[in-house]
């Protein structure tokens, strides 16, 4: 008999990091190693309360622990935000298909991210940076509502920008006194000169509205739908393509995604909702 896919691996929250007014990162140590690929997701169970899908924000190279950044948005995430260090949790997964990093080799990787969408992107970014010579360049265009809303500030505002091979620009919708950088939604810092479009893979992750307009912008620049990778946020539950909650057209986001090319899903009208 195959193993029970509904049985979580027990784990513990060992550290909680306040990232922004609405986002906290949780370091979770599972009792059994969980090997995942960047962009795959797990179901995090709060015993007795429920579970919700999250893409780890840490590098897959660390299978001892994973970091999960969570925005307070609903019942489960609200409860998770109340958790203290030492809280017991359950983890199921990993599920689905992540970013096809090997397909990016020799190309420029153009990453457009917004808000808590930087969580999966952080995992991808760390993976790319770990073998940066394999890629022509990693070009990042990240946005947040305000400077405070950026997550991973310590890395983002300093060390990440200095990595050779990385080109990074940040923007905020609304600045405060200290902010000297760009102001405007993320699409305002995208330019067709950012990358050589013919030899690039674009990755978009963020709130639905941002993903929609960023994708349209990339298409306008001449990106082929097959070269735009989207990390879709749907109501994934079982993780094994059965319960139906996460369906986009014929696709189960949990099994066929969560990373899709725009080519795969572009004909379904409900992808941005």
């Amino acid at each position: 008999m195959s193993k029970n896919p509904y049985q979580p691996v027990n784990g513990k929250i060992t550290e909680i990091i306040d990232e922004s007014p609405t986002v906290k990162s949780f370091v979770v140590v599972p009792e059994k190693k969980i090997k995942f690929e960047t962009g795959q997701f797990v179901e995090l169970t709060l015993p007795g309360e429920g579970e919700a899908p999250f893409t780890p924000s840490s590098s897959p190279s660390d299978s001892e622990k994973m970091e999960i950044s969570i925005m307070k948005a609903g019942r489960m995430t609200g409860l998770l935000h109340q958790c203290k260090k030492g809280q017991k949790v359950g983890i199921r997964g990993p599920f689905g298909k992540g970013y096809p990093v090997n397909d990016f080799v020799g190309r420029e990787v153009y990453i457009v991210g917004g808000g808590v969408g930087l969580a999966p992107i952080r995992s991808l970014f760390l993976t790319l940076v770990g073998r940066i010579k394999d890629f022509k360049s990693v070009v990042c265009r990240f946005g947040a509502k305000t400077p405070e809303d950026f997550i991973y500030k310590n890395a983002l505002f300093g060390p990440w920008q200095k990595i050779t091979g990385v080109n990074m620009k940040l923007t905020v919708d609304k600045a405060n006194g200290q902010w000297k950088d760009n102001v405007g939604v993320v699409t305002t810092i995208l330019s067709p000169q950012d990358v050589n479009i013919g030899n690039s893979a674009a990755v978009v992750c963020g709130p639905p509205i941002m993903m929609k307009f960023a994708t349209l912008k990339l298409l306008e620049f001449g990106f082929k739908p097959v070269n735009i990778y989207l990390s879709m946020e749907k109501n994934m539950s079982c993780g094994i393509g059965k319960c139906g909650h996460c369906m986009i057209g014929k696709y189960y986001v949990c099994k066929d995604g969560p990373v899709f090319t725009y080519e795969q899903i572009k004909d379904y009208p409900d992808i941005w909702a």
Binding site: Q7, P208, C243
Partner: protein, 351 residues
Amino acid sequence: MEPVYISNLKPFLDAVAERMSLYVPKKTGQHYTYSKYDPDSKSPAELNNIRTCTTVKEFLFPVCELAAIFPEPAEPEEIKPFAVFGLKECDLRSIEILDKVFTEEEFEDPLYIKRRENMFIIASDCFEPGESCFCNFFNGKAFAQNGFDINVSKIRDGFIIEAGSEKGEDFIEKHSRLFNKVPDRLLGERDKNRDKTQKQLEENNAKYKLDVPIKELTESGWESDVFDVEAKNCVECQACTRICPTCHCFYLYDTKQKDYFAKMKMWDGCLRQAYAAVAGGANPRKILGDRIKHRLMHKLVYFVDRYGLDMCVGCGRCIDTCAGEIDMRSILKKLNEELKDKNRPKAKVIK
């Protein structure tokens, strides 16, 4: 193995019930539902003329079941062999569909599989198709074609019993004293009955005859307002998804018990408004018409793309149960007419 004959069902059912739990159809009002066979009951089981009201999926995928216990995983619940009597061809096709989903390689659902492996399927011929039956839309037949352990066909003076699997053959061999050779004239009678039922099924559905294959027809409905029009009659009770033998959406939820936590697996339905909503509030199918459309697209287009067969068996239970009198056949017929209109050559304008 040649079919065998028995004049009375009771000894046969008693023999099954001696070996395992047996569930049989029982008339409840106008419909049949399943209950456990009681050999001592004054009114032993009767053979249902038509599919039961409740579906076979309840035996394989219960309304609510325990999916996991933690922190300490528990031994899975033991499932003993059980038999279900009176399943019709549409029920067998629905099992085939659920098998595709729950036994898919790399994505097996062990909860389903352990029940499936222990189920002994006793099918039977249909001889009174209902007004709502439309299995012929999906090449369904009035009798079981495959996927059964034993099939029972009622004839004038008794029953023809036929094995459809090794398990079935084994059962008949072990109980050979119960059965006789089928008199020649009776096999012919079985075929005649089957033809008659099939003909009636086709007559019942003649007015819904479609000109285009169902998948193509459904796909043509992307832009149609048929689903929004149907939505006006839908009261969102979700009876259709519950009574459907192939609908298999479910919902995982966690509960606190005295000394453990449990993850439960419970039926859900894609017509429910918050079904696909995420925590941020986004919901890809806020509008009821879109949910009705998604359900039909899943059944008649997406499932076909993925698994190579329709996710509808034409049992018509959804039609019987719908408080708003929504009828899948009429939806398809409307799409059929819309498509015909679209494809009709436009009259030439003479200048």
